[in-house]
């Protein structure tokens, strides 16, 4: 009797085959406790390593807001957007969540090779844990953002609850991006060196310290295209909610929703397609 017959007769399955998409997603869901614990424990261990611990989570965006504020506040002098300080703070704080997710996602597989090579679990757990970790870190930053904008005249009102759907969409979008980059860097390892530049490019184009809608006023076609910039959509909505000088561009809600769903679905399928590939050296 041949080996494959013996295997079939004893209901042995071939090792290393990629599970179907639905089985895969079910298994990822079943491992949610692991995913969450991984995120939580990583935050805990990071906090134990630094003397200032958790404080760094908020200090980092404050420091970069100060640097950008100084530099661009001076350069832009006359053409600073209205209510510049909270405008900038919202931009920097939100972009921090995106950047850490993209960079962390890009590294989530390649910097965990040992783990991937020694335990079987759906690899998607790793980029999900990374983005979850960043989401948890984003929460104190968000609180601080509310406090700071209030110092500059914002007053809490019911519309602030719109932050819940906004952050939900933003989170899903970031997760999709992280999944795409998690796989890309596995194929093209050198890409991880590029990611910081990509994220900087995105940072400068998404309107962190200028208002693209005023800048692009004379070019209506460009303005229409730019309205699809997902990160600027996030920033514009957040500023519309918090600051009196800006209004919420309502069409951005569905544009952002489309982005989030499309990127997340594309990212999930794209990542799953290479499941057997992760951790392999040859």
């Amino acid at each position: 009797m041949s080996m494959s017959e013996l295997a079939a007769a004893n209901s042995l399955e071939r090792v290393g085959a990629r599970p179907s998409f639905t089985d895969y997603v079910t298994e990822v869901w079943r491992r949610r406790d692991f995913t969450y614990s991984l995120a939580k424990y990583r935050i805990q261990s990071e906090n134990e390593r630094n003397r200032l611990g958790m404080l760094w989570v908020v200090l980092r965006p404050i420091l970069s807001a100060m640097v950008y504020g100084l530099v661009f506040g001076l350069i832009l002098a006359g053409m600073r957007p209205a209510n510049f300080v909270p405008f900038l703070i919202i931009g920097v704080f939100f972009l921090e969540f995106f950047n850490t997710s993209m960079n962390g996602g890009a590294k989530s597989i390649i910097s965990n090779t040992a783990l991937v090579q020694s335990l079987p679990f759906p690899r998607m757990v790793l980029p999900i844990a990374t983005v979850l970790q960043n989401l948890l870190n984003f929460m104190p930053t968000l609180l601080l953002m509310f406090v700071l904008t209030m110092l500059w005249g914002a007053r809490p009102n019911l519309s602030w609850f719109l932050f819940i759907p906004l952050i939900a969409l933003f989170y899903l979008f970031n997760q999709g991006v992280a999944l795409i980059f998690a796989r890309l860097t596995v194929h093209v390892r050198d890409l991880s060196q590029f990611v910081p530049f990509i994220s900087r490019l995105i940072f400068y184009t998404s309107g962190v310290f200028f208002d693209p809608r005023t800048v692009l006023e004379p070019y209506p076609t460009l303005q229409a295209v730019y309205a699809w910039h997902p990160l600027n959509e996030v920033l514009a909505i957040a500023r519309g909610i918090l600051l009196d000088e800006y209004s919420i561009p309502w069409d951005y809600w569905w544009k952002l929703a489309i982005w989030a769903v499309v990127i997340l679905v594309v990212g999930t399928v794209f990542f799953w397609k290479a499941e057997e590939r992760y951790g392999r050296e040859n």
Binding site: R14, G16, R31, L115, E276
Partner: protein
């Protein structure tokens, strides 16, 4: 066909390797050591090298067996084990298994800055246990490690033997149908080696199958009822432990 699977003396097959070949293709870097080996400007530095780590290994492992894997350094033992778990793909041939075999590799999931106790939880979750299962076994795991006084200390402060104990205790807390132990026992002290060998025998008694890769013929003799000798990627011998180990020792 029927009479072979019905044989009372043998357990059900749980892992079957069918003519497994593994080739590694790696970019060899660095200049050739001897100048005579260099061949022109363009080829210098990097060339694609193929390492044929396994050259057609075939065997069937059954329930209730504990199988020793022996062979000299670089003969392909770890590669074979990783192929069985599906972590390294077979270039040719196939591996069939009843359930996904577990490599005793929980160490990679642990975080050095966390306490031993938190790592027990994290490691258990990483192996796919439920949190309630881990909590139910927590005390037993701690007792097995013998690290009661250190369980709240960060793992990075442990000695290598202490972390080996912790890893082994976590890894064997789960009910494994098929467990692979690759050189995990060699770091522990004599006491712990005895304790872990006993645990491997327990797993086998609960109808599990254990693969033990070791260079310690004493460990192999004490724990394995069958031994496979891998040499230069080929299966050199497969059979009763005493016979295979004797042959291996004469060969050296």
């Amino acid at each position: 066909m029927a009479e072979r699977t019905e044989k009372p003396a043998e357990g059900r097959p749980v892992v079957a390797c069918d003519d497994v070949h593994v080739e590694f293709r790696t970019l060899a870097t660095g200049k050739p050591i001897k100048p005579s080996m260099s061949s022109g400007l363009l080829q210098r530095g990097r060339s694609l090298r193929t390492v044929h780590a396994l050259k057609g290994v075939t065997f069937v492992a059954r329930a209730n067996e504990s199988i020793g894997i022996i062979g000299t350094n670089g003969s392909g033992k770890s590669t074979l084990m990783r192929t069985i778990t599906g972590l390294t793909p077979a270039t040719r041939g196939a591996v069939y298994a009843k359930s996904r075999p577990n490599l005793l590799g929980v160490g990679a999931a642990l975080i050095p800055d966390l306490s031993g106790g938190n790592n027990i939880i994290l490691g258990g979750l990483a192996m796919g246990m439920e949190r309630s299962e881990i909590e139910a076994q927590y005390d037993e795991i701690v007792e097995f490690t013998g690290l009661e006084d250190f369980i709240d200390m960060p793992m990075r402060t442990y000695s290598s033997g202490m972390s080996a104990r912790l890893k082994f205790a976590i890894a064997t807390a789960k009910e494994h149908e098929i467990l692979i132990v690759d050189e995990a026992l060699s770091v522990g002290d004599r006491d712990f080696q005895k304790k872990s060998e006993k645990r491997i025998r327990d797993i086998r008694e609960r109808a599990g199958t254990v693969f033990l890769v070791s260079h310690s013929m004493r460990s192999i003799r004490d724990t394995c009822n069958r031994t496979i000798w891998i040499e230069k990627g080929e299966l050199r011998a497969d059979g009763d432990t005493d016979a295979v180990v004797k042959e291996y020792e004469q060969h050296r």
